[in-house]
Symmetry: C2
Subunit: 528 residues, 2 copies
């Protein structure tokens, strides 16, 4: 084990290994701490280790490199004294600043000092996982990687033909609606169409209860700005959508996790939190949860609404997946049972039509919609009319229903293919859910294998997925990971799962009793 | 004069008259203060006077109604004691809360109390003019009004055919680029295309210096978040784009105005501000300024860049109009002379192609672009790919150049038509600039006529424009107003200007010596 550090290759950019930048030469005469310091310094200064990146703990890096913990400590102290890394309570050691890239930017004849004196509060608040989402997004352009990371729709289901058709037939005649400025609240025709669609699903809303958004993420941000002050608490189920955690934290909110299981948020545990603390918002994905795929049970939904009413706390229902169901009756939104106006409902056409349209919406009490519009317009005058108009036309011509039918069949097949491939290629000790809808498989490794280790191994074969930690709020998720089966073609999906299986087999094969023992000591968190 | 208040009609929603809600019946026996109180209370409770609206000062309402100032004071005190209005230092008296609409929302069976306890800091910071922009935007849907208010492109120039063509020919083959998730920084093809376009205009940038935005407003917000902390100062020229003032203020910045004249920002006055204070950002529209149409002189540009360097302050150049020039050589962006990386450049396709695309961009130092991307992705995963892809195709096929040619001719004709109509229909004492590009005429009334009064008069004939105050940061602009000649068809443009002329003639005709005297006492601010 002590020698393993030496022959590792630098990893592809989509994982953030620190150790791969360190090549120890034990016979060089240079103290080991100095070598570690120098390697990391070079990687930080050259920009290979980006600002905000989290370094491993001293203990874990020491173990990986086969050196004493004090050796790593000395190296880290040196880096910290140069201002290149910084410790943060609760978030570990982060790469702090990247001097070199600022100096050798060809565009710059000199570096304006105001770039160094940036307002740091919000930047820090963005946290160490802020890069995760953008890396996931950028990976779409890296062709050689088989990515099961991104919750994107299948390219072949992106409705290019529907959009071409509505544009060909309607764009010239409606150029002002489709290409002009539109109201901050959104195109009236789209708001009306969405309200009608929601009524069919049991939610009694009308145009004035709908606010069009440029993606759900914008909705989470707007609601946070309106309802939360820095330091306020937000309750989320754990694990939960990592983008929501980021947005809440970036605005200075404290995120409190409530464990979730196969029936969704443990509402029984929620109650004790509400009784003891004063959170300002409850965020939940009740249907085909991201990442677990779980559906909140009817009993828990009732109880959640009861608690929201009793403690007078708004519930933000994030619902991107409920129309992509594979079996049984169509699930209703939580909002359909909301008799007292406590649920703010958020959904999007990014999964059901196309992410590139950037059309999402919120449904809520009219006065809330008005206030949110006021906030929205200051920073985002309006959502792109072209996408709104296209969606509105697709709804108006009743083309959406058939498209959804097609989606459901397609993704059901993908789910079944994935589960079959997992059965074929993975060791039996990996537990995987069987979601009844949505895009995700949630996988749990045995307690002695970390998903980060698996990702590193899999990355060498150019397979990517998302490890469990970013979906957690207090350090859990080390043994979980998420696969998105939606975007890949059949053969790549199967091949990706096969390669992960290979990586798993290799890790299991080189398990030593000592490793197993050490890892077994690591705190095991409740898994769903 | 005393009777004039009685026979006014309620105004269309696009102006915010308070007095129009008040019908005094002097013979009714009900005290006048009580009548004023009751009228305003009804208007607030019914939602006609929206939350956040600024009420006139006691003195000015008293003058308008022909009552004593103490009468208005008593009415205001009554409203304040009921929590319906609230005084704010520096921002006047604002409508505070709208109870009735909260109670009679059919969707609500009861009103969740959390709606009343909203985090108020940012909401207040949005300020009293926050509604102006959304009203301008919403007006696009009110057909009966001739609006010279909105800086929107002419509907007949919205490139529906270009977009249809690129979609027909390319969308199916490029569905992943056009409809999938794209990188936070924007589609590579578009960033490359924009960089090439900017290089032609003298700005040496490449793909990595370009960040795609969902509108310039997003860029102003992102930069503010990155560079400013609450309380920090931003310098703007006065008058300036009202959306920028709003965005800066909403983020807690203090906005300092530097007067501008026909050669743009008075850079000589800027220097003394920089010497005495420590602003963090200078915001300017150097070319075809909004609202004045002025172009900053070469000498001032040089000096501004020199000051930015000497005082190490970034300059945010907002440049939506410079490609829409009517005469002379094509103006270069300020950024073209920026040898030391102090200029952050912002532009948009909203004026040159279509606002409904929501595609704008920023050009700046690479590390700045990286940081801004990080911020952007937390709240806006990415800009709509469909619009980006369409623009990228239009650039790639070199369809943009010809379109710009057409725009320039079209808007030049509109400018000339407008100036001719003004000469034909307006009294000669109104001063109007003759812009060499852009969308706007900036009009200055004689010192005894306020633009608010003119707007009220014009509104009765269903003509709208934007009064000068929202473009100012410290109370100026009462005698100015902006006309946007771009969006209207010829006959409506001329008719709108004619109606404003009628309104002006009426106001001038009923000028009394006493009024002239009173208004003449009002502080007169430097006009450009």
């Amino acid at each position: 084990m002590r020698q393993r550090g030496a022959h590792h290759q630098p990893l592809p950019i989509f994982t953030t290994s620190t150790r791969s930048y360190i090549q120890l030469e034990r016979s060089s005469g240079v103290p080991l701490y100095r070598q570690i310091y120098q390697s990391l310094r070079d990687a930080i200064v050259s920009g290979e280790l980006a600002e905000g990146l989290r370094l491993p703990t001293e203990r874990s890096l020491a173990r990986e490199l086969g050196v004493n913990r004090t050796t790593v400590m000395n190296a880290y102290n040196e880096l910290a004294s140069e201002g290149l890394i910084e410790g943060h309570v609760g978030r570990g050691t982060l790469v702090k600043r990247n001097y070199a890239r600022m100096e050798d930017d060809a565009f710059e004849h000199e570096t304006p000092p105001w770039l160094f004196g940036l307002a740091s509060g919000e930047e820090l608040a963005l946290g160490t996982d802020a890069h995760v989402l953008s890396e996931l997004t950028a990976m779409g352009e890296r062709k050689e990687v088989i990515s099961l990371a991104q919750a994107a729709p299948a390219p072949e289901l992106l409705p290019a033909e529907l959009i071409r058709t509505v544009m060909e037939e309607g764009l010239s005649g409606e150029r002002q609606s489709a290409l002009g400025y539109c109201p901050v609240e959104g195109l009236q025709s789209l708001r009306r169409g969405i309200a009608a669609h929601m009524r069919k699903r049991g939610v009694p809303v009308d145009l004035q209860h709908i606010l069009i958004l440029s993606g759900s993420t914008q909705g989470i941000g707007l609601i946070s700005r309106l309802l939360l002050s820095p330091g306020d608490e937000v309750v989320v189920e754990v694990p939960t959508y990592l983008g929501a955690i980021q947005a809440f934290r970036a605005l200075g909110a404290r995120v409190i996790g409530v464990p979730a299981d196969s029936e969704g948020m443990r509402v029984d545990l929620l109650e004790s939190i509400l009784a003891r603390r004063s959170p300002r918002l409850i965020y939940t994905l009740p249907t085909f949860q991201n990442p677990t795929g779980a559906v909140m049970s009817p009993e828990r939904r009732r109880r959640l609404l009861l608690l929201a009413r009793r403690y007078q706390i708004p519930v933000l229902e994030d619902d991107p997946y409920s129309e992509i169901y594979f079996e049984g009756p169509e699930p209703q939104p939580l909002k359909a049972q909301d008799r007292h106006g406590h649920v703010l409902y958020l959904s999007t056409f990014s999964k059901t039509l196309a992410p590139g349209l950037r059309v999402a919406w919120m449904a809520g009490p009219e006065q809330m919609i008005e206030r949110l519009s006021l906030h929205k317009q200051v920073f985002d005058l309006n959502t792109n009319a072209l996408g709104q108009w296209a969606v509105s036309e697709i709804l108006r011509r009743d083309l959406f229903t058939g498209h959804l039918e097609e989606l459901r069949q397609h993704y059901k097949r993908k789910r079944d293919l994935s589960l079959q491939a997992i059965q074929d290629y993975w060791p039996p000790e990996i537990r995987v859910n069987r979601p009844k809808g949505g895009f995700h498989l949630w996988c749990r490794l045995p307690g002695d294998i970390r998903s980060r280790m698996l990702l590193r191994e899999a990355a060498q074969e150019y397979v990517a997925f998302v490890i469990g930690e970013p979906f957690h709020v207090d350090g859990g998720g080390q043994h979980s990971f998420r696969l998105s089966f939606a975007p890949l073609r059949d053969e790549l999906l199967i091949e990706g799962i096969r390669r992960i299986g290979d990586a798993l087999q290799r890790i299991i094969a080189r398990r030593t009793p000592r490793e197993a023992l050490e890892d077994a000591r690591i705190e095991r968190l409740p898994m769903v």
